[in-house]
């Protein structure tokens, strides 16, 4: 098929405004979802890591929600919340929740008890102990969770096509319906991968900046 190349720079140039708009949609909904999810999952993780009887049911419920397929979840949410951005946003929050929750509890579980003891001996109250000792120790694990949630979310947004809000997924679908226009599908797929890579890199750098003590130790 000579008229249907896999790559076409002129397609990218000619459709730059539409591609950019979809990219902004894609990044916006991902970042917002992961931010909401982090704001819920980290405090919840702190809470359930303190009481053993709560952690089982909460993690179990999050795991059940995580098992529901994205297309199914969007299909359940769309008739109730309306077509568009909202069901995609809520779906992404739900999926990110388990990942971040798991990493928060895992991070808090590995805090060195000797360090906690030392802080307590220095007269740290429970609030300061949490904010200045436990959470910083768990930070690398939490950041790892946020990164994983972000990368997975970027790929998941494309499924939002089904409810009319798929970011670059909209472009993929358009290319599919547009007589299988390869350059369009390929551009959107590569764009999605690039978004994931860039956001992952940003979070990696943020994580590094937030944990300077880890660098000093390894240097």
């Amino acid at each position: 098929m000579p008229g249907n190349p896999w790559f076409s720079w002129s397609y990218v140039v000619g459709n730059a405004p539409a591609l950019w708009q979809r990219t902004l949609d894609h990044v916006g909904v991902t970042v917002e979802a992961v931010a909401i999810s982090t704001a819920i999952a980290v405090p919840l993780g702190v809470l359930i890591s303190r009481s053993r009887w709560m952690s089982g049911p909460v993690l179990g419920a999050a795991a059940v929600l995580y098992t529901i397929p994205s297309l199914g979840l969007f299909a359940i949410l769309a008739p109730l919340l309306g077509i568009g951005r909202t069901p995609v946003l809520i779906g992404l929050v739900v999926y990110s929740l388990l990942i971040i929750l798991r990493n928060t509890t895992a991070g808090l579980a590995t805090v060195d008890p000797a360090v906690v003891d030392a802080a307590r001996g220095l007269g740290y109250g429970p609030g300061r102990l949490l904010l200045q000792v436990a959470l910083p120790s768990a930070l690398p694990s939490i950041v790892a969770g946020v990164r994983l949630a972000t990368v997975s979310s970027v790929a998941l947004v494309t499924v939002g096509v089904v409810v009319g809000f798929g970011g670059l997924g909209q472009i993929m679908f358009q290319g599919f319906r547009n007589n299988l226009y390869r350059a369009e599908i390929m551009t959107a797929t590569i764009g999605t991968i690039l978004i994931a890579l860039v956001l992952d890199l940003v979070l990696w750098a943020a994580g590094r900046a937030l944990t300077p003590w880890l660098r000093r130790r390894s240097a």
């Binding site: 098992t67 297309l71 494309t158 390869r182 797929t189």
Partner: protein
């Protein structure tokens, strides 16, 4: 359109009609198609990933490759891959089965790799001391010890594939996703809701059944923690 009640009763009415289930292209037929596609994808992924993972684990090579594969497979948008395969001439079901297998393989590979590599070195030494060949060590010592991780990987994989197959409907294929795309196309949101619930329940039911299977597949001495 946010009238949840109307949609809910539409969904119930639709689900209550026996014809919905038994007609040609009904829920039962679509579920069968869905499960067949799942079996094809998981079978293909397992046929490649388990031997490769076992061999890499046995020779303790390729750790970097395994890590890279898992990370890279997360960033790839499944939908894009399905559409790209479709534009290469492989439509709907075939494209989705290939894409699902492609995403399932890394999970199986990693779990087999870790399981075989993590086999007790003493057991491996003892087997070698008894004069077992490399192949026999792998088949009779390392793989049985890896069965916990491999079966956990299979469970994750199967559930993940059941959840991926609905995307076929977006590329003109079959499976349960068809109920959702058809409902959206015809603005029958009750059917969309019902389709979503059916897909979700199928996934949860399969996960539950596999949890039991995983427990049975794990040899009694290895059942330390029930998952």
């Amino acid at each position: 359109m946010t009238a949840g009640d109307g949609v809910l009763s539409q969904a119930l009415v639709w689900l209550n009609d026996p014809l919905t289930w038994t007609e040609q292209g009904g829920i039962l037929e679509l579920t069968g198609e869905h499960l067949l596609m799942t079996a094809a994808a998981v079978g293909a992924a397992a046929a490649v990933a388990i031997p490769v993972g076992a061999w890499l684990g046995h020779t303790d090579r390729g750790a970097g490759l395994v890590v890279w594969l898992t990370n890279a497979s997360r960033a790839l948008p499944t939908l894009g891959i399905v559409f790209l395969l479709a534009s290469a001439g492989l439509f709907g079901n075939t494209a989705t089965v290939i894409a699902a297998a492609f995403f399932a393989a890394p999970v199986l590979l990693v779990n087999t790799y870790e399981g075989v590599r993590g086999a007790d070195p003493d057991a491996r030494d003892a087997a070698r001391g008894m004069g077992m060949s490399d192949g026999r060590i792998l088949l009779q010592v390392e793989l049985p010890l890896a069965v916990t991780l491999v079966s956990a990987g299979l469970r994750t994989t199967i559930v993940q594939v059941v959840a991926t197959i609905p995307l076929a409907a977006l590329a003109g294929g079959g499976g349960l996703g068809k109920i959702i795309t058809f409902g959206l196309g015809t603005q029958r949101y009750g059917e969309v809701l019902a389709g979503g619930v059916i897909v979700a329940l199928l996934c949860l039911a399969i996960d539950g059944a596999l949890a039991v299977g995983q427990r049975i597949a794990t040899p009694a001495p290895l059942r330390v923690r029930s998952g």
